[in-house]
Symmetry: C2
Subunit: 392 residues, 2 copies
């Protein structure tokens, strides 16, 4: 009976994995945590992790030639980094903003926290499913109104339903993640413009475009952004993480574009040296035309490979992929399958770490997983694992 | 007349330097800013910068062997860092705290900001001279009461005067920087204990011990800390920057030890991924016994060299050094000299960048400079510059 010890091990690993997921709350346990807590487990592909691996390659190549010679790395780590105003000055022209509109954060998450602290005293409207910090980080006592995106609509934003909810609920702030996390649904820039016109009376509208580098509206994959709309809509703040498109989550870099009056409030009594030396290096690299050009090649390559991957996902029986413009796809499972079981099986049998969406408000029926697009090689492993676990 | 063009250049550089200082407000313009704005200027020694250069050497040596092989650096930059709770667990035993008491910050400055936001609704008592963020980062409308340290006392804390002010003013919070910045005055741990006993009714007492690694109470230079007192005084929060003693300001790493109830409030709705990948590497290195041992050698070496430097400072005619237990000394100038002129002269004629203290509340008469202790070689250049500019 050679299988029995292996099955017992599997059972133990499965139990421990689900415990770790529960302990991690609304986030996935990191690969480092899994490797530490489940050393028996071989994790081959992290399909929870939302980042362009080719951009990480590019960044590391540049970092090695720029910083790992002539003491550059030491300077970045030894000395105090520049202030927000200095970095805003260099970043603004590249993102189509005025320096006075630009706030730089220790990751987008610091900016989300600061906005919710300062400008959401009473009520916030959050479409669901969503990124959990938008409701978890509100001030104590703030009411969260969940506007449900519907699976029948492919989780796409229905503008008239949203405006009706806003008119009735009168929130201090409306959150729009575009493309949305965890489903990848995309609202066109023209549609956003119309929506912002209808939301002029809302004190704060946040467009989180952290995944915008993976979206496109034409076949040239021309880069998109809602930043230019901040000038016309002073109630708009556009937030952008650099972790996903540049694959540098450990560096902690993000920015926001907002009316200068808001930036003045934020920097008046805080946010000194909040951008570390390597994040400063990143921003100074990001604005270089040569780097922009090299990055654009990797961005387009990754988008095209991801589209091929999403196409292949759709061919797997028992899975329903939702339309996505992000670097991940939300996948619905047949009624007889639960996400936690599929995720555990893919991890234990194939070393492929998928993201259960069963902790997401709005997806609590436990029948959705979120699958990150990775490198071509890793995508092939993800597809093999999904074909296998849905066939059994 | 070969000197005239040079004098004109000097005049222009001096004017521009003082403009940059004014623009930097209560901080010094960074070396990077000076080099960018004044490319003609040769800056040989940064005697504004408060950090142990030998510790930076040690850190870089370890980082190179740990991270610059086997893709370690890539992992630190590509993936999300650990959460505060994970890092608190590993750091707590080394600093003599319980994990539930430990908050990790994106530099000490993030912690200062968070404490002032959350627990100073009305009034704060700040001894002066001080680190400017303690009064600049208060919430709008908060009253700042300045408790003056006196030059006749060597800027030492007079506990009975402080307690009298606290009793009369009834602030929400009392700030104690120990050793104090910018004068280096030190209050013994026993005296702090007595003081805390007298301040039990103050809702929040902050001891900022960011310079404590340079202080000593015995000739073995035994390390000191106020962290153990947090258990007995739940109103106490001890803050510690890692920038000064480890010479890694660009990494942004700091921690605070506080009553668990306060840490729960801070982490309940924010501070996700606020510690970047290299700061996480730093903390994981810091707790290693072997690193602790190697660091202790460099700490003691730097303290001993700094004491020699302070001794030499005292022999320079026209300067009055104040007693210091930090890695810098506050130096008073003769009545006929102004700090801004001395600093400008030292920079232009000797390439030695000193810190004017004329922007410090409590030192506005403009007759104080702050001099950082650097390496032996740099200290010699600083002494030469000071001897020269005070002799003319």
């Amino acid at each position: 009976m050679p299988n029995i010890p292996s099955r017992r091990t599997d059972q133990r690993l499965a139990t421990r994995f689900l415990e770790l997921k529960r302990a991690a709350g609304t986030h996935s346990p990191s690969i480092a945590t899994l490797r530490q807590e489940l050393p028996d487990l071989e994790i081959r592909v992290d399909a929870c992790f939302l980042s362009n691996p080719y951009a990480t390659d590019l960044f590391m190549k540049r970092l090695e030639s720029d910083l790992l010679v002539d003491g550059g790395l030491r300077s970045a780590l030894e000395f105090y980094p520049s202030q927000i105003a200095v970095l805003a000055e260099i970043l603004a022209p590249v993102i189509g903003a005025d320096p006075s509109q630009v706030f730089i954060g220790n990751g987008a998450i610091e900016i989300i926290q600061a906005l919710l602290r300062n400008w959401v005293p009473r009520k916030i409207l959050v479409p669901i499913p969503t990124f959990s910090s938008y409701y978890e980080f509100v001030n104590p006592g703030v009411e969260v109104f969940f506007h449900s995106l519907r699976s029948v609509d492919g989780f796409a934003l229905d503008r008239s339903r949203l405006v009706a909810d806003v008119t009735r609920e009168r929130p201090d702030a409306v959150i729009l993640i575009n493309p949305n996390n965890p489903d990848g649904s995309y609202t066109s820039q023209a549609a956003l413009y119309d929506l912002l016109s209808a939301l002029r009376d809302v004190p704060l509208v946040i467009i989180d475009e952290s995944f915008i580098h993976f979206a496109f509206e034409d076949e040239n994959l021309t880069p998109l952004s809602s930043v230019p709309m901040v000038r016309e809509f002073p109630n708009l703040v556009v937030i952008k993480s650099m972790s996903k498109d540049f694959g540098v989550a450990g560096i902690r870099a993000g920015y926001a574009v907002m009316d200068p009056s808001r930036r003045r409030v934020l920097t008046a009594n805080g946010f000194l040296w909040n951008v570390n030396g390597l994040a400063e290096y990143f921003f100074r690299l990001y604005i270089q035309p040569q780097f922009q050009c090299e990055y654009e090649v990797e961005r387009q390559r990754y988008i095209r490979e991801s589209r091929t991957f999403y196409g292949a996902l759709e061919t797997i029986p028992g899975l329903r992929s939702f339309p996505t413009m992000a670097n991940f796809a939300l996948v619905g499972l047949d009624a007889n399958r639960q996400a936690d079981a599929v995720v555990t099986q893919a991890l234990l049998q194939h070393g492929v770490y998928l993201r259960t969406a069963s902790d997401k408000i709005g997806l609590e029926d436990g029948q959705y997983i979120r699958v990150a697009a990775r490198s071509t090689h890793e995508n092939a492993e993800i597809l093999t694992a999904l074909r296998s676990v849905t066939a059994t």
